[in-house]
């Protein structure tokens, strides 16, 4: 099925009163986003999830120093870029350009990443000390 016919089918479903939930749309490629804010919310929450996951992973690894922070920034921006440009194939200009999509929720996710990193790093040191003593 081509992407155009798939979009037509989805919009028909929407017009027919069967509305896909946001979560199912987020994990379907080429989903139809009638509301711009709905898609921006998806980007926002995916960013927060990535921040928590990477924060915990980096703390447990442990990946110290600014290298870890730089890698987080690259992964955060990169994964979401691939998501909205390749997976969802949205028109970036509709949302104000790639920069607007990249900075959506970025600072909050960065702060969340640091909190996760500090907590998991402390927990890792505690468990390591407990194991070796």
């Amino acid at each position: 099925m081509t992407s155009i016919s798939k979009r037509k089918e989805e919009s028909h479903l929407v017009n027919g009163g069967v509305k896909q939930s946001t979560w199912s749309k987020a994990f379907n490629s080429n989903a139809v986003w009638e509301e711009k804010d709905e898609f921006l919310d998806v980007i926002y929450w995916l960013r927060q999830i990535i921040a928590i996951v990477l924060g915990v992973m980096w703390g447990v690894a442990p990946l110290k120093g600014f290298l870890g922070i730089a890698i987080f920034c690259i992964i955060n921006a990169g994964v979401l870029y691939v998501y909205f440009s390749s997976f969802q194939q949205i028109d970036e200009e509709e949302y104000g350009g790639t920069w607007e999509l990249t900075k959506e929720g970025f600072m909050t996710s960065f702060a969340l990443f640091l909190v996760g990193l500090v907590m998991s790093f402390k927990m890792y040191k505690l468990l390591k000390y407990n194991k070796t003593s």
């Binding site: 946001t22 919310d41 600072m107 040191k125 505690l126």
Partner: protein, 225 residues
């Protein structure tokens, strides 16, 4: 009605935890073994995250009581969001060759939106004073409790202009030691905005964009269904 229950429950948990924490810290002996120090530090970190969640909920609770549930605020917010969306759509469709009349119409709408935004800010000012007063008292209290205490170890050395905050009131030259205020600020930055979004209390992107948001528009008050 659920908001009343929620607020009462929240205050109960907050004060229970707070007084429990005070009793716990006052019972700590100086010169503990490394493991106890580390576990104390981890407990501090968890406590600070919890304090941040509670203060964010407290701020939203106060704002809800003083501002969000009032008819004036609901009316103004709906008006601002409607006008912002309308203005945004108009700006997208306008071309460079658009007539003077159209441009003047947009300017009039922008002026109207600016006035409504200003009125909305005035309504919110009540809660801002109350929150500012509460938080000044709370921060003074927490700062005295956590004064000179290393609450976490950072896995990186912060930049020199941030060290003043991250190493505030701490002894020694180890800049991976983290003070209460730095961790609290990080927690607040991450937790408060997410709580606002989850509770549906954050302003819409369109409204903030038209009002001139700092560092771009904040997330819209929308939940996943």
């Amino acid at each position: 009605m659920y908001m009343h229950f929620f607020l009462s429950f929240f205050f109960f948990v907050f004060f229970f935890f707070f007084f429990g924490a005070r009793k716990y810290f006052s019972s700590l002996r100086p010169g503990k073994r490394d493991f106890d120090t580390m576990s104390t530090m981890f407990a501090d970190t968890i406590l600070i995250v919890f304090i941040s969640i509670c203060t964010a909920l407290l701020a939203e609770g106060i704002t809800w009581v003083l501002v969000y549930r009032t008819e004036k605020y609901k009316r103004l917010k709906a008006e601002v969001e409607k006008q912002s969306k309308k203005l945004e759509k108009k700006k997208e469709t306008i071309t460079e060759s658009a007539g003077r009349q159209q441009k003047k119409k947009i300017e009039r709408q922008e002026e109207k939106l600016k006035n409504n935004n200003r009125d909305l800010s005035m309504v919110r000012m009540k809660s801002m004073f109350a929150i500012g007063f509460c938080f000044t008292a709370l921060m003074g209290m927490f700062n005295s409790i956590f004064d000179g205490r290393v609450v976490a170890k950072l896995p990186f050395v912060p930049l020199s202009y941030i060290q003043g905050l991250s190493h505030r009131n701490l002894l020694g030259e180890d800049y991976t030691d983290c003070s209460f205020i730095f961790l609290y600020i990080l927690c607040t930055m991450s937790i408060r905005q997410n709580i606002q979004k989850m509770l549906g209390l954050a302003p819409s992107r369109a409204a903030t964009k038209q009002a001139g948001g700092f560092l771009g528009p904040p997330p819209q008050a929308a939940k996943f269904s």
